[in-house]
């Protein structure tokens, strides 16, 4: 057995810890940092409930060791809200009823966030493809797609007006944009 001193930036905050080699990133996030928004679902890299963003790319944190995240920047669902304002993706899920039980939602929102950061105007097909590694057993995905379209419209509108982040969601009409 070996332990390692790691330093990981999580949601902009630096955390140092001594971890066992076999500690999974999801356990580090949930148990060491007590950030329990990231969920453990299937624990076999299929369901995507544990999705977090590492150095800009969504990854399944049940299939990465904490020691592999040493020196990297991790973003979890807790990092979406800024100064009490919902992130456009969170606002989209709220407005479009993009969840029922909520179990898949943190992972789904992190995947959506990464998608919209690389493509602010995804087609429905591109959205469905992007979330194909995140399973939802409640919604049938339709409202999740609408929620992400809502968020995309908000982000596009914000970009043309002001570079501020985390603005309030627009009305439903914006989803057709």
């Amino acid at each position: 057995m070996s332990t390692h001193d790691i330093t990981v930036t999580v949601n902009g905050q630096t955390h140092s810890a001594e971890v066992e080699s076999r500690l999974l990133l999801v356990h580090f996030i949930r148990e060491n940092l007590r950030l329990t928004g990231t969920h453990i679902g299937c624990d076999t890299s299929h369901c995507g409930a544990c999705t977090v963003i590492v150095d800009g790319r969504p990854v399944k944190s049940c299939t990465m060791f904490a020691v592999q995240a040493d020196g990297r920047a991790v973003r979890t669902v807790e990092g979406l809200e800024v100064a009490g304002a919902l992130h456009p993706v969170q606002a989209g899920f709220k407005e479009e009823h993009g969840l029922q039980c909520g179990f898949c939602t943190p992972g789904m929102m992190m995947t959506a966030t990464a998608l919209l950061e690389s493509n602010a105007s995804p087609s429905e097909g591109e959205i469905r493809s992007a979330i194909s590694g995140n399973l939802c057993r409640c919604t049938g995905y339709t409202n999740i797609v609408k929620a992400i379209q809502h968020a995309a419209a908000t982000i596009r509108a914000t970009k043309t007006e002001t570079p501020a982040r985390g603005v309030a969601a627009p009305g439903k009409a914006a989803t057709t944009a």
Binding site: H4, S21, S45, G48, T63, F65, V67, Q68, S132
Partner: protein, 296 residues
């Protein structure tokens, strides 16, 4: 699920990584993207005492064309393959394949070299590499050696890799003029292994006659299978509906499927026939320039 205990080392050079593998004999495993290895560790199907993480070694993320070949480094990710303009424009078989491996999130971590080195007949790149006549660069204590994809897959999860070697690069010959390829996979859902899949790569001469055909079969045997009989049959034949149908029947006869929850032996064999036909038809259309390499 929590893996058995292991030591973890993250060397900064390939030479150090090889030295570590040699020191630990067969007890060490190479960790790159981890998308096959970590689930196996968690299920305790594998319990190496040491993981040698090559993820901290600089300069292995390349996907580049030089010396009449495409070179893919050990740390190039599947997602990088999807986003590579060279791959999209010139290697449609590779692009097709990358898009149906696991799911988009797994593809952000999973590496092409890892997909090959793992030796799982359910993985998609092995058949692709056989069809493309690729070769693999293996680095060991005595330097590097190159093994052709068609000779690399020895048995179930068994490859030509020695315990102290690392697969550092995939090399794919640049396509000759009038070449095209396609990958067709049937999966029950995104993220599943193939029920069956077929990789086809063809090169035509100016009359449309087949100069070379490469056909690889996924998940219908203990190793990826090269359909040599179908390849030989297509040599110097026009790629029309009749020859494609006959070659597809030959490819199906080369498959060695076993019944499981994805289907019966007969079903999978017939699936290979149908998927070979579709893959050859699209590969030929792409070779003739009748459709874009990204379209179907």
């Amino acid at each position: 699920m929590i893996p058995s205990r292991f030591d973890y080392v993250a060397p900064s050079t390939l030479d150090d990584a090889v030295t570590l593998l040699r020191e630990h004999g067969g007890e060490a495993k190479v960790l790159s993207g981890g998308q096959s290895l970590i689930p196996m560790l968690k299920l305790r199907l594998a319990a190496p005492t040491v993981l040698v993480d090559i993820g901290r070694i600089d300069g292995l993320e390349y996907i580049e064309e030089r010396d009449e070949a495409l070179h893919i480094g050990a740390l190039a990710r599947e997602a990088d393959l999807e986003q590579s303009a060279i791959v999209r424009d010139r290697y449609p078989l590779l692009y097709d394949t990358a898009r149906v491996i696991a799911d988009p999130i797994v593809r952000n971590s999973a590496t092409i070299c890892g997909n090959v080195a793992h030796g799982d007949p359910g993985n998609d790149h092995p058949a692709t590499m056989i069809a493309l006549d690729a070769s693999f660069v293996l680095r060991g204590p005595n330097g590097t050696r190159t093994v052709a994809a068609r000779d690399f897959f020895v048995g179930l999860f068994t490859t030509a890799l020695e315990a102290d070697e690392i697969l550092t690069e995939v090399v794919i010959p640049a396509p000759a003029p009038r070449s095209g390829g396609a990958y067709f996979k049937l999966e029950r859902k995104v993220g599943d292994f193939a029920t069956a899949a077929v990789a086809a790569q063809v090169t035509l001469d100016t009359n449309g006659t087949c100069q070379r055909a490469g056909i690889g079969l996924t998940n219908v045997g203990p190793t990826p299978i090269r359909a040599t009989n179908a390849e030989a049959f297509l040599q110097n034949k026009p790629l029309d509906a009749g020859t494609i149908a006959e070659a597809s029947t030959l490819a199906a006869s080369a498959a060695e499927p076993v019944a499981d929850r994805r289907g019966t032996e007969g079903y999978k064999r017939d699936l290979i026939r149908v998927l070979t036909s579709r893959a050859l038809t699209l590969a030929a259309r792409r070779a003739r320039g009748e459709t874009s390499n990204r379209g179907r």
